[in-house]
Amino acid sequence: MTIRLGRREFLMGSSALAAAAALGVSPAWAQNALRLIFWGGQARADRTYAVTDAYAAAGNPGVEGEFLSWNDYWPKLATQTAGGTAPDVIQMDYRFIVEYATRNAIAPLDDIIGDLGEFDADQLEGGKVDGKLYGISLGANSVAMLANVTAFEAIGEAVPDNSWTYADIERLGEAFKAAGNGMAAMSDGSGSEPFLDNWLRQRGKALYTAEGKLGFDAADATEWFAMWNGFREKGYIVSAEDNALDTGAPETSMVALKKAALLPSNSNQLVIHQSVNDDTLTITSYPRIEAGVGGGHYRKPSMFFSVGGTAAEKQAAADFIRYFVTDPEAGKILGVERGIPCNASVREAITPTLDEQSQIALNFVSNLGDLLGPLPPSPPAAAGEIDTSLLRVLSQEVGFGGRSAEDAGQFFVDEATAILNRAAS
């Protein structure tokens, strides 16, 4: 096992109790079982464990799974990686794959993954960093607008279809205002990174360039914030105060709290949101900037399985991943919980077995039509920081009136550039 935090850095700490090591108990994973770690809830765990059981039952090595919530997952994975004890199979997020791959914390899979069958090319591409394959997509999804069907019916408006535009936000905004039931048309999307990305892509720009630079300028950002200011002032979207109640958990969303009828989200989130809402929900596309303008959406790998950079049995780990994404029986167990399966035969095998919400999600992702644009390059390593500590904070500052749209637009570009430069150096 490599020690990433080397002894030199570690100085004296370990030597003092080195003698006690002899008494220590050897780690539990000394046996041959593969260690798998993933984030998620109970539903995901149930499905995942059912697959590992089936895998072991078929005469393969056992897989010992551990799952954590998103917030707990990353500190633990980082600690284990730093300690050189990372698990064999690691669930990886789009946001962090570059980070882990460039530091060899996960292993390239090109030579060991074997035949994945009819696997969506764009999904394979999404798992590549610097041309090498580091993650196998566990499902495709797309940004999607969550809509409360019951609320729309109540005010006599139709749920927008995939052709709707930003102009419709105003129309629907007025309609919901007129209804006066305390529900706005939409939640505040100004702090949503995918929403901004979608808007920029329709304008022929992007959040980030392939070189890892910012793909837009201060004027774009200013216009973005100003547009949302307009919506907010007219009451088409929820107030800044209400929007800040949303901490990202499905239960705290504006749709769950019945404060908005539309919520920018992801296709695979429909099932979750429905489970905490007694109204009927569906999904539709993000609005178009003009009728007929598309290209904002893309099919994004929802999450990956990667192999730990220090894993002893890399081949065995890759074998398990291949089974996980290509075996039809595994596919039936997993459903679309992690997104739409990327292997065509698995997709076919599971379609009849899906429930209504899953069907909606699958159909949405499969039928994006002209909304579908090219897959963007992997985001630079600092993308996560720009999202959480800059875009979200700025959108709130503008929302609460602490900053003008112009100010925020310029500040966003300046700070984001600085963060990108710092991360690159």
């Binding site: 990433r4 935090l5 080397g6 850095e9 570690f10 100085l11 004296m12 700490g13 370990s14 003092a16 109790l17 917030n71 990353w74 500190p75 980082a78 600690t79 990686t81 730093a82 980070e99 882990y100 530091r103 060899n104 914390a105 800044a240 105060e241 209400d242 929007n243 800040a244 109640l245 901490t247 990202g248 958990a249 239960e251 705290t252 600092a382 996560g384 920081e385 959480t388 500590s389 979200r392 904070v393 709130q396 500052e397 609460f400 602490g402």
Partner: protein, 313 residues
């Protein structure tokens, strides 16, 4: 009468007066009792502490070996980090208000509970309940139920025709909901105060009441002075805890410190730097600066303690 040293020596062999053995006699028991702590300190604590000090001078992303970058982390902290400034502001406000209020509350309740009235164990348990709950997810949800726009507080205010804001999601008030949370969980200092009050001999009060001292005067002249070691302890501990406060903000804002960094506690910022943005080197620098701040405060408290803390010995 001359002392015959030679005569005395044999019987005193066990207490031979060589310098070394005298030192052994005087210092050995202290060190023997301290031994477990010393082993733990040197074996488990010093190493990681020095490591983190070293890391504070490096660029360490957890995944690749640390790179020595000198004082760059510290320079950035003071010259080029608006989040650091925000975190300092939030944390100092929190410490300044939550600690005194929490202590006053804890002491007041402890005094009430120390009156020897009926149903005491029940009250004590009830008052401790919030602290038992800790900063769990359940608390985060509960706090939203209370302080959201249509929450309990505003329902109460609406009786008087007041339309309150959404306290927890308004950057002007969100920190205060966390201060209230901290005060509400006053169980630990309360218990310590209670234990301290138990150490005050009852006859002191009897003597004082014979001398005609009223309750208020008894409190200022007897209870408080005799309780100062405990007050001192609670003040130090609560301040250190408040400086390091992490979990409530982490849970309630889901780790973001929102809205607009208004609940970006120092420790939360540090945690995000370390584990969300993989800047363990910078996080270590933040940690050591925090240690420096707390150490200054604690040293100051200890230095002034001799003027207001009364020990029995």
């Amino acid at each position: 009468m001359a002392v015959n040293a030679a005569e005395a020596a044999p019987q005193n062999a066990a207490f031979s007066t060589t310098k070394w053995s005298r030192a052994w006699q005087n210092h050995a028991p202290g060190y023997l009792f301290l031994l477990p702590w010393l082993i733990g300190f040197i074996g488990l604590t010093v190493g990681p502490m020095i490591t983190s000090l070293y890391l504070s001078f490096t660029d360490f992303d957890l995944l690749t070996p640390a790179q020595w970058i000198g004082t760059a982390n510290y320079e950035r902290m003071f010259t080029n980090d608006r989040n650091f400034a925000a975190a300092m502001r939030v944390t100092f406000t929190f410490v300044l208000f939550s600690v005194p209020l929490k202590l006053a509350f804890a002491l007041a309740i402890a005094m009430l509970l120390n009156r020897g009235m009926k149903g005491l164990p029940l009250y004590r348990a009830l008052f401790y309940l919030p602290s038992l709950l800790g900063a769990s997810v359940a608390i985060a949800i509960l706090w939203r139920q209370i302080f959201a726009g249509d929450g309990l507080v505003n329902q109460f205010l609406s009786i008087f025709g007041i339309v309150g804001p959404s306290w927890i999601s308004n950057p002007n008030y969100s920190l205060w909901t966390l201060i209230i949370l901290s005060i509400w969980q006053f169980g630990s200092p309360m218990i310590i105060f209670l234990a301290g009050l138990r150490q005050i001999p009852q006859d002191m009060y009897e003597a004082a009441s014979l001398d005609g001292a009223g309750k208020w005067r008894q409190f200022w002249k007897i209870t408080l002075p005799l309780l100062t070691p405990v007050v001192f302890f609670n003040a130090i501990i609560q301040t250190i805890n408040a400086f390091q406060s992490f979990t409530p903000a982490f849970i309630i804002s889901n780790g973001t410190g929102s809205p607009i960094n208004s609940t970006l506690f120092y420790a939360l910022y540090l945690y995000n730097e370390a584990f969300s943005f993989f800047r363990m080197g910078y996080a270590s620098a933040l940690a050591w600066f925090l240690l420096f701040l707390i150490a200054c405060f604690t040293a100051f408290s200890f230095l002034t303690s001799k003027y207001w803390v009364h020990y029995d010995d």
